[in-house]
Symmetry: D2
Subunit: 151 residues, 4 copies
Amino acid sequence: MDAMADGMTDAAPIVWEHESTLRVRYSETDQMGTFYNSRALEWFECGRTELLRAMGLPYTEIEARGIFLPLVESHVEYLGRARYDDPLQLTTRLRMSGRARARMEVEIINAQTGKPVVRGYTVHVFLDRAGKPVRPPEWFTKRVTPTGQPE
Amino acid sequence: MDAMADGMTDAAPIVWEHESTLRVRYSETDQMGTFYNSRALEWFECGRTELLRAMGLPYTEIEARGIFLPLVESHVEYLGRARYDDPLQLTTRLRMSGRARARMEVEIINAQTGKPVVRGYTVHVFLDRAGKPVRPPEWFTKRVTPTGQPE
Amino acid sequence: MDAMADGMTDAAPIVWEHESTLRVRYSETDQMGTFYNSRALEWFECGRTELLRAMGLPYTEIEARGIFLPLVESHVEYLGRARYDDPLQLTTRLRMSGRARARMEVEIINAQTGKPVVRGYTVHVFLDRAGKPVRPPEWFTKRVTPTGQPE
Amino acid sequence: MDAMADGMTDAAPIVWEHESTLRVRYSETDQMGTFYNSRALEWFECGRTELLRAMGLPYTEIEARGIFLPLVESHVEYLGRARYDDPLQLTTRLRMSGRARARMEVEIINAQTGKPVVRGYTVHVFLDRAGKPVRPPEWFTKRVTPTGQPE
């Protein structure tokens, strides 16, 4: 299926890309013997956290500066099994979607076999402390312009 | 936005609809003061569980008969806040999507204020005990044909 | 084993007792086919929430009045299996432990079979908004004195 | 308080000790702004998993050999706050408790400040595939005898 057509990506350029790893916890399995479906969104969070840290803007610092990035949308495609203790490799990509949304696309594969596990994305708005939508502040956008990206 | 265009529904008819309720647990909140995003998928599960029970086919019985309904896709739109102990009302709708997929659409509102909280869907395949995709068995499909629905 | 000796109860009188029910969610199972161990503490929370509501002091109201009841200790004994969708019956008992601690003891049984699932307790301190330990306020203690208990 | 008296340790010798680290996930926080209480038990699992791997007996292999180690008891003392993204250091110690129980004691501190976060323990029985309690198999016990420990 065409990736553009199925909504997994959008036309905005990728402004940052980051790889991270984690292992499936026993608490994340269910009685079907693989991970419970909602855990994928928790792993997406791990990918986002590490991407933002790699960008030099840890999410703790973003919140400390008074900006919050709650989700307005999430999408997950379940592509394969992952069992307890399986090592997973996450590739997280950030796009700025329109003027005031950040979109994080995540692909997770089994780090040993290379087999796909899940892929999907989350869309985030920028809110101030009062919960009001705002434009991404300059200290954020200057990190995500093409020249902000390290070689 | 056109509901058809945004993928929240598909053209297949609704074969069952069910309402259920739950309250937000403290464990489901996060430091932003509302529910953590992945909890929506756990609530969707609660909606599915109660819809299947209402259909006369509790999911425990479906698994006991050797059929499993893992997710292949999930989608959530976050529409409003829900805080600890807020009463939520879930409307879950089942569509058969193509020949071998069940699609569960869920809308969650605050049961007191009527304000929307989340909406989304999950898509499920039918697997046998060996993990092989199968057609929905007759004991399932006869429940979800129009005549199977109670008045 | 002597209940007093094993720490499951203490000498303070029970000031409130409440029964509630819930069903095991699929998300709460793990690959061993029963509930994952940490879920017991989430169920204890459900029991506390319903006990406090029954007392006329929903925990939302307690926090709204500026009092927080974080845990300082938890203890769980795992007594039997509970599977997806099993109906559970919780009995929650509140004791005031010393002058400034609330102790919630919980027993969970399978509501159909009567078989024990878990029992345990949590110990809570009273904190103000600044996170400073405080004595239980009068509006709390007057609910939990013997005469406050309804017949 | 005397550690022996309060049940945090028992008289059996420590047969293995392991340190590991993790970071607090956003999904693990709650609206009080620190981690939700049940997450401590999920972190204890992370500590156990890494201790068993360091012993040369990953828990996946233990289950593959037909031995399961479910909890019969857990205990947690909450000693301090841990916020989103805080780095935690876990020290996990294994004792054989009586002939057929493994006891895992865990201490978690903030890896940056050194401040205590939680401490506690879990007690595990050895079950075979049929769910019947068994003695620890020789391939397990030979790892945990004093001579089995590497220098």
